[in-house]
């Protein structure tokens, strides 16, 4: 679905992404993992078409992002940033309806409203529909933003740290929801800080360090104790319980 080929990105003199090449499976939950400053957000922004690589290319369904029209891009890829302050008091429902902007052309109808209510319900926040987003907690706002992305019904969802403001129950709910979307064929690509959750729930992992891909592949194989030590500089103990669950613990060396 998404392939990044030899993508290089510079900001001023510093190299943010260095010859990144990854081929991501479609209909999968893909976790982008790496320490602070590894280039996770930059890679996601390239995939979302918000930035363009200085060299190399990003392809979605075999087509270069730079060759898509704005409308094709907007109906293929949806973007959920990390929490950002919002200046105006739109209601949660109005915000989610705006997610369908590319298809509704700014004149949302009954279908747009229905699908937006369904998206809020999918995240369990239908009660917030008439609340203004400026009065929501950052976790509630995050759910509304994910609902906005769901309502857009794009085949690819790109989320920057979607769990950042969520408690453990909300995190598990969101991961379950994203998994259920991948079962319907949606490709979900998100950055995570929680290695344990990512290892358990993601299908595929891109491990970044210093703007380079350190490892890429199925979650358990990619997030091995060797790779984690190499990238994060911590030791990992992985234990397996009798019912097949793995338990991870990290220690400073």
């Amino acid at each position: 679905m998404i392939s990044v080929r030899h993508a290089t990105l510079k900001k001023g003199r510093s190299l943010i992404l260095d010859d990144v090449t990854v081929e991501l499976p479609s209909g999968a939950l893909i976790a982008v993992i790496g320490p602070n400053g590894a280039g996770k957000t930059s890679l996601l922004r390239l995939m979302a078409g918000l930035d363009h690589p200085d060299s190399g290319d990003v392809l979605v369904t075999e087509k270069s992002l730079s060759q898509l029209t704005g409308e094709e891009r907007a109906t293929t890829l949806s973007w959920v940033p990390t929490d950002s302050p919002l200046p105006f008091a739109f209601t949660a429902l109005e915000t989610v309806i705006l997610g369908r902007f590319a298809t509704s052309k700014g004149a949302p109808g009954r279908t747009d409203t229905e699908k937006s209510r369904a998206a809020l319900a999918a995240l369990g926040v239908q009660d917030l529909a008439d609340r203004t987003i400026t009065t929501l907690s950052s976790g509630e706002r995050q759910k509304v933003m994910v609902a906005r992305s769901l309502a857009a019904e794009c085949p690819v969802m790109i989320l920057d740290e979607p769990l950042a403001n969520l408690d453990i129950a909300a995190s598990l709910h969101l991961l379950k929801l994203l998994k259920s979307r991948t079962a319907l064929g949606t490709t979900v690509c998100a950055s995570f800080h929680d290695i344990i959750l990512a290892r358990k729930h993601a299908d595929y992992v891109v491990l970044l360090a210093g703007g380079k891909v350190k490892a890429v592949g199925p979650a358990e194989k990619t997030l091995s104790s060797e790779h984690i030590r190499e990238v994060f500089g911590v030791n990992t103990t992985i234990a397996h319980s009798s019912d097949g669950k793995s338990l991870l613990e990290f220690q400073l060396p």
């Binding site: 922004r45 979302a48 078409g49 918000l50 704005g70 409308e71 891009r73 907007a74 890829l77 949806s78 973007w79 940033p81 950002s84 919002l86 200046p87 105006f88 008091a89 739109f90 209601t91 109005e94 915000t95 705006l98 997610g99 902007f101 590319a102 052309k105 700014g106 004149a107 999918a122 995240l123 369990g124 239908q126 009660d127 008439d130 609340r131 203004t132 009065t135 929501l136 907690s137 509630e140 906005r148 857009a152 129950a169 909300a170 709910h173 379950k176 929801l177 259920s180």
Partner: protein, 356 residues
């Protein structure tokens, strides 16, 4: 996903109290009609609504006017009505410019005066007074003001084309720099005018904003710019909604934010240019009206623009009514009145935001 079985975290947060759209439209329109009738009724010349109705009834039934009615008709339709129309046009224009500016800068406390368009108009108007050409023709000062406003707009658009990837703050700071320079130069020119001419009063009146003696020719002069700016602005409203979610999200929703920014600057500038050319600088309207209307009906830009336009007409008309009746037989500058009304509103706004 099932709803979380968790205690309501924020039941203490006040629930949204927006005025329903139809009520807001009806209420604002009624208020406007009331203020319009008051403005039509009261002035230093004692011609009331009753006389006007008689006059209109006479005209419609084809009866000839008495000489007295002829002079009445001249007062009402050649002096009072055009002044009302100019005031209403300027109120609507400034408020709509405020809606667009606040939307594009994603800041509810932004105002078109940040763009420097008003100060550009002020500078060239002051220059017209300095060279003693202001009194030659009714149009000299308005044309000078228009040129100043449009030149400033051109500078801003040039900035945004030359540096398309500038963050918004930089564009605002560029506007701020241009604005400061123009204000300083204007002060210098006004000081020279006061020193060398007898027109000190005229230049000050212009700087403070006034509708004194405005006629149909002023309507004809400002309307094209205000309508053009309004037309540009109405094409941007749903994209401004998307922009409220952030520049990246708007981009991902297929909004060309650089094009939007340029068009918003052009639209807001044309609106302000049309108003400032015939009325001078009228402060606070473009800041306060959209902000209060947003609190009233919510931030969706299409509705916001319609109600703000009506409320802007009402506010400026009311301010002008106060300005011309408070100190008979003379009048106060309308800009002073909008400042006197606007400042406490603005402070109340800041206090209310601070509490949140």
């Amino acid at each position: 996903m099932s709803p979380h079985a968790r205690p309501q975290e924020s039941h203490h947060v006040r629930h949204l109290r927006r005025v329903p759209w139809s009520a807001a439209l009806g209420g604002s329109s009624c208020l406007f009609v009331v203020v319009f009738l008051l403005a039509f009724n009261f002035s230093s010349v004692d011609v009331g609504l009753k006389d006007a109705i008689e006059l209109i009834a006479n005209a419609l039934s084809g009866k000839t006017f008495t000489p007295e009615q002829h002079s009445l008709s001249a007062i009402l339709f050649e002096i009072r009505l055009p002044r009302i129309v100019v005031a209403a046009l300027c109120g609507a224009a400034l408020s709509c410019a405020g809606v667009v500016t606040q939307g594009v800068f994603r800041n509810p406390l932004a105002s078109p005066s940040l763009l420097g368009v008003e100060s550009g108009a002020g500078l060239l108007a002051a220059v017209a007074f300095y060279f003693g050409v202001a009194h030659l023709n009714t149009f000299t000062v308005p044309i000078a003001a228009l040129v100043g406003a449009l030149a400033t707009t051109a500078v801003l658009v040039a900035f945004s084309i030359r540096f398309p990837h500038w963050p918004l703050e930089s564009l605002l700071l560029a506007g701020f720099a241009v604005n400061s320079l123009q204000v300083a130069l204007t002060s210098a020119v006004v000081a020279l005018v006061l020193e060398e001419h007898q027109q000190g009063g005229a230049v000050l009146q212009w700087m403070l904003g006034s509708f004194s003696g405005r006629g149909w020719e002023h309507v004809a002069m400002s309307a094209p710019f205000i309508l053009a700016g309004g037309f540009v602005a109405t094409k941007l409203l749903h994209r401004l909604d998307a922009l409220a979610l952030g520049e990246d999200v708007a981009t991902s929703l297929n909004v060309d934010i650089h094009g939007l920014r340029r068009r918003a600057i052009v639209g807001a500038s044309l609106l302000v240019a049309g108003a400032v050319a015939v009325a001078g600088a009228i402060p606070f309207v473009s800041l306060v009206v959209p902000h209060f209307t947003r609190i009233l009906i919510g931030p969706r830009h299409k509705r916001l623009m319609i109600i703000s336009a009506i409320n802007g007409m009402t506010l400026v008309l009311a301010a002008d009514l106060i300005a011309r009746t408070i100190r008979p037989p003379g009048e106060l500058e309308v800009g002073i009145v909008t400042s006197l009304i606007g400042t406490p509103l603005f402070v109340a706004l800041l206090l209310q935001r601070g509490r949140r």
